[in-house]
C-alpha cells in the first residue's frame, strides 16, 4: 500500500475489492498519510487524498474537467458500447458538463431547489415516512432498507419529477443498472443487461417529457418546459429529458445510502440513539457528522485538462482523478480527532460530501431534509431501536456510492411511541 518516494503508485489499492468496500477508511487514511496523490493501476485513476487539494480541484473547473464524472469506470464490451451508443441520446447537462455550458443549465434548475422550495416538500416527506413506518411499527424487527430508506427518497424525488408512484420499483432497478455500468466493474453478461436497461430508462425519460409537454402536471419536468414561455435560454426537450435522467438517479441512491450510514453509525455506539431520542435538536448535527464520517458519496471524479502538480506530485494532462472525499473528510488538518464520530462536531458542515464550487450538489437541501426527517421520526418513535446482532453488512460494489445494502433493526413494539 505505501508509496515509494518519487514513485507514487498505490499498487495494492483496489477501490472495488471486498476489503475496501467493507472497511474503506483505514485504507484511505493510510493512502492520505503516505501522500497527496497516487496512481492506482487497478482502475487507471489517480487517487487524491487531502482535503485542501480536493477543495482546490473542485473550485477550478477549467483545470479539472467534470466530463468524466459519469463515464463508465471500466472498459465495456463492444456489444454493450454499441447498445449505449445507439440507444442513449442523453446529453451532458449537470455533473458531467463544464462551464460555461453547465452554468446555463444550472441557472434554470437551481431556483427549483432553493431551501424555501424544498421546505414545501417537508410535509409530503413526513407523510410518506409515517405511512412506511406505520407498516412495520408492530413487527419488532425489520430490514430498514427495503422497508423505509430505499422507498422514501425514491418516492420523494420521483414525485418531484412527476413520475407515477407505480413506476418506482422499475425505475429503482434501472438506476441500479446505471450505477454498475458507470461506477462498477460488471461482467460481460451483466453489462449487456444493464446497458439494455439504461436505454429503457432513457426512453422512459424521453417519453415522459413528451407526455408532460402534452399534458403538463404539477412537477419539476413541467416547470422546466414552462420556462420556455418566457426565456429564450430555457432547456430543450433533449436537455430536459437528460436532466430528469440525471436527477432521477442522483436524487435517491445517495439519500438512501446516507440514511443507512446514519442509522448504522448512530445505532452501533452505546447511548447515541438515546441521546437523539431525548434531544431531537441533535438530529441535524448528527446527520452532518454522518456526511463527514461516513459519506454516501465516498469518491467523485475529474480529469485534468493540462499537466498539474498536486501536493508536489506531477500529474499529466488527461489524467483521470478519483477524489477521495472519504479521505478528505477524515483529514486531521481540518477535522480534529477524525476517527471520533461526534454528533456535535463544530465544523462537520465543511465536509466535502456534497462537493464544492460550480457542481455543488443541487439536491443538498432536499437530501438533508429527507435524512433529518427519517432519523428524527425513528428516534422519536422507537427509543430502543438497535441493530440486530450477527448480521454482516454489505455495500454495493462501485467506487462512489456507499451505504448498507441491508440493515436489520429491532425494537420492542410495546415501547414504540405513537405519533401524537
Amino acid at each position: 500500500m505505501s508509496a515509494v518516494a518519487g514513485c507514487p503508485v498505490a499498487h495494492g489499492f483496489d477501490p472495488l475489492s471486498d476489503e475496501y468496500l467493507a472497511e474503506p477508511y483505514s485504507i484511505l487514511n493510510d493512502l492520505r498519510e503516505s501522500g497527496p496523490a497516487h496512481h492506482v493501476p487497478s482502475i487507471d485513476y489517480w487517487v487524491i487524498t487531502r482535503y485542501e487539494d480536493i477543495a482546490a480541484i473542485l473550485s477550478d473547473p477549467a483545470t479539472y474537467s467534470a466530463t468524466v464524472a459519469q463515464a463508465p469506470l471500466s472498459a465495456l464490451t463492444d456489444e454493450a458500447q454499441d447498445i449505449l451508443r445507439r440507444g442513449l441520446r442523453n446529453v451532458p447537462v449537470l455533473s458531467n458538463l463544464d462551464p460555461p455550458a453547465h452554468s446555463r443549465i444550472r441557472l434554470h434548475l437551481a431556483p427549483l431547489f432553493l431551501p424555501r422550495k424544498v421546505a414545501k416538500l417537508q410535509q409530503r416527506i413526513e407523510e410518506f415516512s409515517m405511512r412506511l413506518i406505520d407498516d412495520f411499527a408492530q413487527l419488532g424487527r425489520v430490514d430498514i432498507v427495503p422497508a423505509l430508506t430505499f422507498p422514501l427518497p425514491a418516492l420523494t424525488v420521483f414525485r418531484l419529477l412527476g413520475f407515477p408512484d407505480a413506476d418506482v420499483e422499475q425505475l429503482k432497478q434501472w438506476c441500479g443498472d446505471k450505477l454498475e455500468i458507470n461506477w462498477g466493474r460488471p461482467d460481460a453478461d451483466y453489462q449487456l443487461r444493464a446497458a439494455t436497461n439504461m436505454v429503457k430508462f432513457w426512453d422512459y425519460c424521453e417519453r415522459f417529457v413528451e407526455q408532460q409537454a402534452q399534458a403538463p402536471g404539477d412537477n419539476l419536468t413541467s416547470q422546466l418546459l414552462r420556462q420556455r414561455e418566457s426565456d429564450d435560454g430555457a432547456l430543450n426537450d433533449q436537455e430536459i429529458a437528460s436532466v430528469i435522467f440525471a436527477l432521477s438517479f442522483a436524487g435517491h441512491e445517495t439519500t438512501t445510502n446516507l440514511m443507512g450510514n446514519a442509522l448504522r453509525n448512530l445505532l452501533s455506539r452505546p447511548g447515541l440513539w438515546q441521546r437523539l431520542h431525548a434531544d431531537p435538536t441533535l438530529v441535524d448535527s448528527a446527520v452532518e457528522e454522518t456526511l463527514r464520517f461516513d459519506s454516501s458519496v465516498i469518491a467523485w471524479r475529474r480529469v485534468t485538462t493540462k499537466a498539474v502538480t498536486i501536493g508536489g506530485v506531477d500529474i499529466p494532462a488527461n489524467a483521470r482523478l478519483m477524489l477521495a472525499f472519504g479521505a478528505a473528510n477524515h483529514d486531521p488538518s481540518v477535522f480534529p480527532e477524525p476517527e471520533v464520530f461526534d454528533i456535535q462536531r463544530e465544523n462537520a458542515r465543511v465536509q466535502l460530501s456534497f462537493g464544492k464550487g460550480t457542481h455543488f450538489c443541487l439536491g443538498q437541501h432536499l437530501g438533508r431534509v429527507e435524512v433529518r426527517t427519517v432519523i428524527g421520526m425513528l428516534a422519536r418513535r422507537f427509543p430502543d431501536l438497535r441493530l440486530a446482532e450477527g448480521q454482516t453488512v454489505t455495500y454495493p460494489r462501485n467506487i462512489s456510492f456507499r451505504g448498507p445494502e441491508s440493515l436489520i433493526v429491532e425494537w420492542s413494539p410495546e415501547g414504540a411511541a405513537q405519533w401524537a
Binding site: 441557472l107 431556483p111 431547489f113 432553493l114 431551501p115 460550480t358 455543488f360 443538498q364 437541501h365
Partner: protein
C-alpha cells in the same frame, strides 16, 4: 459595517441565508445570493461573520468593518 457580494461565483448553497437570514437571501429567479441589507446593524455582526465563514464559494465580504 458594509458588505459586498460576488454573485457570479455564488453556488446557491444557501448557507448565508441560514446563518444571517435578515442580511442574505437567495434570489427566486437565479437562486444566487442577494443582499437584503448592504449596511447591516451592529447587532447582526456575529451572524454576518458566521455567514462569511460558512460560504463555501467565498463570495461574501465585509469591505468596511
Amino acid at each position: 459595517m458594509t458588505l459586498s457580494i460576488d454573485r457570479a461565483g455564488c453556488t446557491s448553497c444557501g448557507d448565508c441565508a441560514l446563518a444571517a437570514p435578515e442580511v442574505f437571501d437567495l434570489d427566486d429567479d437565479d437562486a444566487k445570493v442577494i443582499l437584503l441589507l448592504a449596511h447591516p446593524p451592529e447587532s447582526a455582526r456575529v451572524a454576518v461573520e458566521q455567514a462569511i465563514r460558512d460560504c463555501p464559494a467565498g463570495v461574501l465580504a465585509m469591505v468596511e468593518t
